[in-house]
Amino acid sequence: MNNFWKILLFVLMTIVLLAGIIPPIVDNPKSFFEFPLIPGLEDKAKIIFFHVPTAWLTVIAYLVAMFYGIRYLRKKEIYDDMKSVSAAALGLLFCILATVTGSVWAKFNWGAFWHWDPRETSIFILLLIYGAYFALRSALEGEEKRARLSAIYSILAFLTTPFFIFIMPRLMIGLHPGALEIDPSTGEIKASANPVIKFQMASNMRIVFFMSLTAFTILFFWIWNLTHRILRIEHKTKQEL
């Protein structure tokens, strides 16, 4: 992690924090510094800059954990397992954050903390997978066995995620953008016309949104880099003793 990334993270995060909170939401935005009003979301739309990146990092962390898990299986290098487990630990943290921010948003937007919408189901499953991953790790003895079997479990559990992320939201009725809904007049299930579900971001919101994604991703890799190096040092000092 060299200084370039740290400075970039500082600049991006500052802009995201300011630009994500300060600009007012108005009916007809005239200047670049005003966000358009989305019926049904209003001021609550701003949480998207912080909620979506956490959900995104939950998935990225899982992919990183699995990537290093597979690398461990190929090369049997114990440091790869440390990278894998520290990515998974961060993934669990971001998964909890995504669940909490999501359900707070759901409370104020849809009326209850939890709805079993397909996306809510899939983040819940990811939470369960992370939980099961750590439960499995604590039940296995021996460094080598723990690394090998938890890597395999991460692969097996990953195979079910395409069903949750890509297939279920399109088969089931939901509240998130891109979901299906029931037409109140005819009772048919169809692609939704609801402004929240059809949600398209304005260009200035989109800029802040992608800046936020980048900033959070850099933040993740920074923390991950620190945690797996700490694990490596702990491992080395244990060996020297």
């Binding site: 039940a139 090998r148 395999i152 097996l156 079910t160």
Partner: protein, 223 residues
């Protein structure tokens, strides 16, 4: 000895030792009866909406699979026979033999559950048998496949009993959700075409899980 024979012999070994001792089977049948009667007591004389039964049917199936299917590899590990087994056959035949045994076991147990449900619950009436039976077969294959590979992971761990459902639940959930959807539609009597997307998910799940299990089993098995 060719591969198919090896698979069959491993299946036959488990099958005949099961027939001799019946430790898994007797306990499982009792488990099913206890679970179904708990639901009967919970409902009492009231009438639940019909599609609740679809969910409760697969809940009982899931938990009986969780209590019965882990035996496959745990028993080898407990008796210390896994090294001899790996001398006699290659990992793929071991996995397929165990899978076959679990498949037969789960078919048997789930048929009992289905018969109990159909006779004891007045409102559990399947109107579209084609889609229910197809879902039943595909679902059993998927449950047997995923449970067998998770059982192989579990057999190496310390706390086996409680960990098994914890590990298997997220892996089995897409399957269970689709099965519940199809069963609901079978109870309502909708044609198979209405749930064709759900069937495609079931088939792809079965193929993906079995292929992946065969690929990774080698790594789990060799210590």
């Amino acid at each position: 000895m060719n591969e198919f024979k090896r698979v069959f012999y491993i299946f036959y070994k488990d099958f005949s030792s099961e027939l001799r001792m019946r430790f898994a089977l007797n306990a499982l049948i009792m488990f099913v009866i206890v679970a179904v009667s708990t639901i009967l007591f919970a409902i009492g004389s009231e009438r639940a909406p019909q599609n609740v039964y679809a969910g409760m049917f697969w809940v009982v199936v899931f938990f009986s699979a969780m209590s019965g299917l882990s035996r496959a590899f745990v028993s080898e590990e407990e008796r210390g026979t896994n090294l001899i087994l790996s001398l006699l056959a290659n990992p793929i035949s071991i996995f397929l033999g165990k899978f076959l045994f679990n498949l037969i076991l789960i078919f048997f147990i789930n048929s009992i559950i289905a018969i109990l449900y159909l006779t004891l619950f007045k409102d559990f009436i399947i109107q579209n048998w084609n889609s229910f039976l197809l879902a039943f077969i595909l679902g059993n294959i998927g449950i047997a496949g995923s449970s067998t590979i998770i059982a192989a992971i579990i057999s190496k761990a310390n706390v086996r009993g409680t960990l098994y459902p914890v590990l298997a639940f997220p892996v089995l959930l897409p399957l269970i959700l689709m099965l519940i959807e199809i069963t609901k539609s079978a109870i309502d009597g909708n044609p198979v075409n209405d749930v064709s997307a759900e069937f495609m998910v079931l088939i792809s799940y079965d193929v993906v899980m079995l292929t992946a299990s065969i690929l990774v089993f080698d790594i789990i098995w060799r210590d």
